[in-house]
């Protein structure tokens, strides 16, 4: 075990900005992508539902 305390862990030997900056931004990006994927799927589903209901629907119609 490398760390004696939480402070030490968070401090990362003085490199907190760099280490947490890397891991943090990566986490945010991945979370963001997952969120985008979900909203993409929702949009695609509504679009498909509208299409099934009303026949041909343009993408723009479902979003506006």
């Amino acid at each position: 075990m490398n760390w004696n305390s939480w402070q030490e862990f968070l401090h990362m030997g003085g490199y907190a900005l760099y280490v947490w900056g890397s891991f943090g931004v990566t986490a945010v990006l991945i979370a963001g992508e997952i969120w985008l994927l979900r909203s993409h799927r929702q949009k695609a589903l509504t679009l498909a539902r509208l299409t099934v209901k009303y026949g041909r629907v343009k993408e723009d119609e479902s979003t506006t």
Binding site: M1, N2, W3, F9, M12, G13, G14, Y15, L17, Y18, V19, G21, S22, F23, V25, T26, L29, I30, E33, I34, L36, L37, H40, R41, K43, A44, L45, L47, A48, R49, T51, V52, R56, V57, E59
Partner: protein, 248 residues
């Protein structure tokens, strides 16, 4: 588009949509599991580096992201080539689905590299071959996505994108060989970790586990994206209508 090729049947979007739906949770699960193990290794098992202190821990995210960023581009170009050769819609959709994830990982590589560079090299960025080629890779992804976004007709978007992806992949090794004509700060700085063999092993293991995690994540994300793309493109078909009745 007659089925002169047997594979065509298996690459039907309808079949694939269902298959992908079943596989996605598994890949997300694997990614989460491997990620947890990898992070544990990164922060708790891997010891403090003799020279770089804790900063080196960035390696556990930097290297997997870098690897995957290049790998995904090649896979994307592969799908594009397949699509152009056999005119399978699904291949084009796979290529489009991979691009955003690839671009995201390329950005992660650039970002973590920059954050690593500041403490080790004293600069956020240097114009060294490795770094530059990664930046160009980022532009190649963006070019692919921008081209597809600029074209309204999906058919043309698919094929134009595929063509530029293929041309771009030719560029990747060329850029890569340019390493020889450049002074490369990048490799020189990463020597310290091969000091003690035991340390190298645990670090290598950590890197591998994290790389696997990123790989699984990339598969899950692109499968999930391709499902949405399939839905958008195929929403006029019978199978989507049936699917919506039964599924929701």
């Amino acid at each position: 588009m007659t089925s002169r090729f047997n594979l065509y049947k298996y690459s039907s979007p309808a079949t694939f949509y269902a298959l992908a739906g079943k596989m996605i949770p598994w890949f997300y699960g694997a990614a989460a599991l491997l990620g947890a193990v990898g992070l544990y290794i990164s922060f708790f098992l891997a010891p403090t580096d003799f020279q770089q202190s804790e900063a080196y821990r960035i390696i556990f995210i930097h290297v997997p992201a870098s690897w995957m960023s290049m790998f995904i581009y090649v896979v994307m170009a592969g799908w594009a080539a397949f699509g152009l050769a056999f005119n399978t819609r699904l291949s084009f959709m796979m290529a489009s689905a991979l691009a955003p994830t690839g671009a995201m990982l390329t950005f992660v590589s650039l970002w973590t590299g920059a954050l690593w560079g500041k403490p080790t090299w004293g600069a956020w960025w240097v114009w060294d071959a490795r770094l530059t080629s990664e930046l160009i890779l980022f532009f190649l992804y963006l070019g692919f996505m921008a081209l597809q976004a600029a074209i309204d007709d999906p058919r043309r978007a698919d094929r134009a994108g595929a063509l530029i992806a293929l041309v771009g992949v030719v560029n990747v090794p060329i850029i890569y060989f340019s390493v020889r004509w450049w002074n490369t700060l990048h490799q020189g700085a990463s020597v310290s970790m091969t000091k003690a063999p035991s340390m190298a092993t645990i670090m290598l293991e950590g890197m591998m586990v994290m790389a696997l995690a990123v790989w699984m994540y990339a598969i899950a994300a692109s499968l999930s994206r391709v499902r949405s793309i399939i839905l958008e493109r195929e929403r006029n078909t019978q199978w989507v209508a049936q699917l919506l009745e039964t599924e929701v």
